[in-house]
Amino acid sequence: MSARRGWLLAAMLALLAGGFCRPAAAQTSELVARLSTERVAITTAFVGESILVFGSTEQPLGPGGDEVVVMARGPSAPFVVRRKVRVIGLWLNGPSARFAAVPSFYAIAGTRPPWQLLPEEARHQRGIGIDSIPLEFTGARAPGFRRALVELKRNSNLWQEDPSPIEIAGSRLFNFRLHLPSTVQPGTYNVEVMLVRARRVVATEQLGFVVERTGSAAEIEKVARGQPVIYALLCILAAAFAGWAGSVVFRRG
């Protein structure tokens, strides 16, 4: 464990040193941040992935000094939340609420919990914290629907709030492990690194990575969505052929 951490630190330092060796521009910035990878491949054996967010600041980090907040967001998609109701003894889906844009992934972390670092207004404005995620919805108005959505996202680890604090190394270096569960959706992910000084965000760095499916499963999915007619015909032919061939292979005698 400690050996791995030491290796990581060395890698960070090497990368940052590389960054600092470049002429002028980087040296004057208050905040420099990078991701350990910019591409996550969902293969058939995908069990999740963790990405390292790391960087350095000009001023020392920690109590009394600057603080860092990391916010990651996955692609948004519409979702429907339904409540089951009892109809003549059977539990059927009843009223529903439609959420137009729900981030499929969300994570927030800070060198200290973000709610201690920033005033509520600023957090709402920047969407910092699960409570601040803008969730417009139509349909049933009861508050239970939003709560159910949040609960489900939190339970499946797709929405994370302060999973662990951002670690500080040597007062100016910071690093944070962003854990992507196996159920992450493909798409473009944004990572925003914010430098907080005196309860204000003074500098930000926008980073990003792409999650994409690879391998034969991804190819099949692509054909099924892109050319459904061809896919449908292929399914018919494949099933018919497999059934015929199988009966020839397995015929006894």
Binding site: T43, T44, A45, F46, A77, P78, F79, V80, V81, R82, R83, K84, G89, L90, W91, L92, N93, S96, R98, F99, G144, F145, A148, L149, L152, S182, A217, A218, I220, E221, A224, R225, P228, V229, Y231, A232, L233, L234, C235, I236, A238, A239, A240, F241, A242, G243, W244, G246, S247, V248, V249, F250, R251, R252
Partner: protein
Amino acid sequence: MVAVLQIYLPIAEMSVDALLLVGVGFGVGWLSGLFGVGGGFLLTPLLILLGIPSTVAVASGANQTLGASVSGLLAQARRGNVDWQMGGVLVAGGLFGSVAGVQLFAMLRRLGQVDAAVAIFYVVVLGSVGALMVMESVRAIFRRRRHGAAHRLHNHSWAHGLPFKVRFRKSRLYISVIPPLAVGFLIGVLSAVMGVGGGFMLVPAMIYILGMPTAVVIGTSLFQVVCVTASVTFLQAIQVGGVDIVLTLLLLLGGVAGAQFGAAMGGKLRGEETRALLGALVLAVAASLLWDLLRVPAALFSVGPAF
């Protein structure tokens, strides 16, 4: 790691144990070979009970049934046991039925009721089929070896009054095309909503309602099943997007092997007791689906992608 072969289903968007699916296919195929049943009526609910989404279970179940029926149809056609003319009329009705069934399915999905609707369809159909099977077997056990066990109901005189009469040479029938069209349509709807072939209801309907000779019934019903499940596969794939070819092929791999073993055993094992067991199994699947509808759900809220 545990010795499981996890495989990612591209359309169901979930990782499953490939060997488990091949095993399920084998088991259902074995039963279908043993009892001469299609097997789709067991496969789709088993997939749902395993956690495969209803939309994928139904569409892939239909696709699997297509594959599982092809070789049977070829064998029957080679022996000249298919009434292509009657089959054509049934298929025409079946194609309309599958279109209507897939529309119904897509509408239910928009309303968020597809899981419950599929379960209700299964509870009703499997409940009645299972009950009839158990009753038939019990009656046969008590009155073993009596003669003339089955009788045709030659009271379809109402059908003689209908227009558009056609002569079906192979079936030695001169009847209106309306009853076969209606039978094909209804089976097509059930096939689309439940992901089955429908031979269970089609074969008795062909004998008792249409009055076809039994020699051509199996072959002709397989013709209808192959055509209608192909149509359901096509429509489900382009309209609902639930056909998972990886799932289908895994199930077929086990299914065709199981069917051959089952058929080989079927010759030796013809007891009414085993048929009663199949009926009991069908009833158990229906009861488990019914229980899921009746009990207070663990989570009152469900979240799903919007369409």
